[in-house]
């Protein structure tokens, strides 16, 4: 299978896309990414603005209508969903590979060969 040309994503991009499965504005995205990453990924204001601007240009997210007149509300597009799926599959494959190679017997063999 041909890999999506944009992969791999950065952790920040992946988490922003995931948090935008539901519509949200910048500040909510920041809070959501913070929560989803167990407080490990903090996105600062300028970085957030640039990231959203860039995702819009790539067509992975779009602005959606909302009651909030002061803030832009975003959500992933079909293309964005495809990217999330492709990246998730890529990581699944890596995880499976790691599980296979890190199982007890393999590790034991590895130790004996040392």
């Amino acid at each position: 299978m041909v890999r999506h040309p944009a992969l791999p994503l950065t952790e920040t991009t992946y988490l922003i896309l995931l948090s935008l499965i539901k519509p949200a504005h910048g500040y909510i995205i920041m809070k959501e990414v913070d929560r989803l990453s167990n407080n490990n990924v903090k996105i600062a204001a300028g970085t957030m603005y640039g990231a959203l601007d860039n995702l819009l240009k790539q067509g992975w997210i779009q602005t959606v209508a909302s009651k909030d007149k002061r803030r832009k509300v975003y959500q992933v597009t079909q293309e964005g969903l495809k990217v999330i799926k492709a990246e998730t599959e890529r990581m699944h494959a890596l995880l499976n590979l790691a599980d296979e190679m890190m199982n007890e017997e393999e590790l034991e063999d590895g130790r004996q060969n040392l």
Binding site: T12, G26, K42, M48, R71
Partner: protein, 210 residues
């Protein structure tokens, strides 16, 4: 002690980061930046409570609505814009709980220098354009012989105190004539340097991962 201090400083050859560091160095003494006039006259005021950090961002907008949304995002994240000089924006923490930085990745920080460099190059193009217009309509008069910049009749035939007096009196005007003539060209050269310097910083920052 005065509760306000005024500093004049031109950051002609320094980058945004150096200016930011200079502004924040006043925090140690308990002063916060409260205004900047004409791009070089800084006003700091004594602040008893937590002294907020100032961060500089560079972003131009052609659309007012987009700019308003950008500022709203910064406000939501705890940053208030206190000054904007054609895209060069000074943000200050609203409270101590605001993040320390406005960029959390090297890549996004580097892109600010790219935007700044692009801005400098587009300004340079404009000044070059003006220069060629003035050149082609004959307003530009290169003064290769400094004596030509002095217009006082008979100046160079005078002597002694009379000469010194007249010479010193006209020198500022002569300098203005020379610099004025070359103004657009000087600006274009200066902006080329600024554009190049910021582009170099962008490249350097993008090479460091994350």
């Amino acid at each position: 002690m005065a509760d306000k201090i005024y500093k004049n400083r031109l950051f002609l050859f320094k980058d945004l980061n150096e200016e930011e560091a200079w502004i924040n160095s006043f925090r140690e003494k308990g002063y916060r930046l409260c205004n900047i006039h004409f791009g070089f006259h800084y006003t700091f005021e004594k602040f008893e409570a937590y002294v907020p950090i100032t961060r500089i961002d560079f972003r131009e907008f052609s659309n007012k609505e987009e700019e308003r949304e950008y500022l709203q995002l910064f406000t939501d994240m705890g940053w208030i814009q206190i000054k904007n000089f054609s895209g060069q924006r000074y943000f200050q923490q609203i409270s101590q709980s605001t993040d320390e930085f406005i960029y959390s990745s090297n890549k996004s920080f580097a892109l600010m220098y790219k935007r700044y460099s692009k801005f400098a190059f587009s300004m340079m193009t404009m000044f070059l354009f003006y220069f060629f217009i003035f050149y082609s309509i004959g307003t530009f008069n290169p003064i290769f012989e400094p004596k030509e910049a002095y217009l006082t009749p008979g100046l160079w035939e005078m002597s002694g105190l009379q000469f010194i007096g007249a010479f010193l009196f006209e020198t500022p005007f002569a300098l203005m004539r020379i610099v004025g003539n070359y103004f657009f060209l000087i600006m274009a050269v200066y902006l080329t340097y600024i554009g190049y310097k910021n582009h170099k910083k962008y490249v350097k920052l993008s090479e460091t991962e994350r």
